[in-house]
Symmetry: C2
Subunit: 176 residues, 2 copies
DNA sequence: GACGTTTGTTTGGCTATTCAAACAATACGG
DNA sequence: CCGTATTGTTTGAATAGCCAAACAAACGTC
């Protein structure tokens, strides 16, 4: 399978992920979640929410009351938590560590939260924990990175020109 | 506009991005790129490629010869390079720095390369450059992170439980 | 020049996601 | 009991991608 086709092969789609998280958040804030509440929260029509939620019910991620109240199954809850964790990890990394403005960080995180693997999420979490552990080494490095960014002026002078920098270092390691 | 709806609002879709990159790579490796070549490279039918490439032609990202040979417009080339740069940056970060296995890093990068903003890409590039600059501080930190990872054993013991760790540090800063 | 291959396009079908609009069921007020 | 509002579902239409299959044009071979 070509790598690029794996884009669609995720546990849940972006839309489905947000339906699950909407239920989770509504339960936490309002105590209940119905089709209408999910639709309102996601700013889509009740019809759309109804259909998507029906599919999630059939997949066993969402459960419905006798009274039409929606709940997450154990599996659904785990999935929602997983994605929410990834989002928080990404926002923290982009904003707190890289210094991307908060709203841009949130947009980027929202786009990719349901796409990154558990493995990458875990490693990134470990990295963030390490950098924010308060250890002298980490603090110094973060400070140094801030200065480095300032020195570079607008890093935009570089404009994502990755190639020139150090891409082939590895190949050339052997050549030396 | 709800943040979560921005998922679809990108310069190009995942599919379109890969059509552009396929042309770019085919031109580099074979010297030419036709509809059939793009289709073969992406492992889709010629029909699908034909339609997607037609749309890209209409958007001015792809140009066609008198002889049906495909080329990228200036804009198309820039876009392809941008996305390719982001992919390389992401792979480097996931694999070289976080220690995610190479194929997992590539899969993750492929999924999100066309989604992250220029700003995040630039900051991430700066961060990578800084960490891989060979400076003593950076090297020590990377080594320390590796040890940290080993100590934690399988970080899976933590399982993306972001919340407990330090999420609310900021709110609590003020409380003290 | 007839036959087979390659190439590019078009068509019909499928899935997922959205909307708008129609509809049914339930509930509340008077 | 009638009218109105709320809720949830269904239906028809749109878009984006994909496939399979049919098709036309061009090229090669003998």
């Amino acid at each position: 399978m070509e790598t690029w086709k794996k884009f669609e092969q995720n546990v849940v789609s972006h839309s489905a992920a947000h339906h699950l998280m909407a239920i989770s958040e509504l339960l936490a804030s309002n105590g209940y979640a119905r089709v209408t509440d999910v639709a309102r929260r996601l700013d889509i029509t009740r019809g759309s929410a109804s259909i998507t939620l029906k599919a999630l019910r059939e997949r066993g991620l969402v459960v419905e009351d006798e009274n039409k109240f929606l709940h997450l199954s154990e599996q659904g809850r785990e999935l929602a938590n997983l994605i929410q964790s990834k989002r928080k990890i990404l926002i923290t990394f982009f904003h707190e560590i890289l210094g991307v403005p908060e709203d841009a960080a949130e947009t980027d995180a929202c786009k990719i939260e349901h796409l990154i693997s558990e493995e990458t999420g875990e490693k990134l979490l470990a990295f963030i924990k390490f950098l924010m552990s308060g250890s002298k080494k980490a603090d110094e490095l973060l400070k140094a990175f801030n200065n480095y960014q300032l020195e570079c002026g607008d890093i935009s002078s570089c404009h994502l020109c990755f190639d020139d920098c150090f891409l082939h270092d590895h190949d050339q390691d052997n050549v030396e």
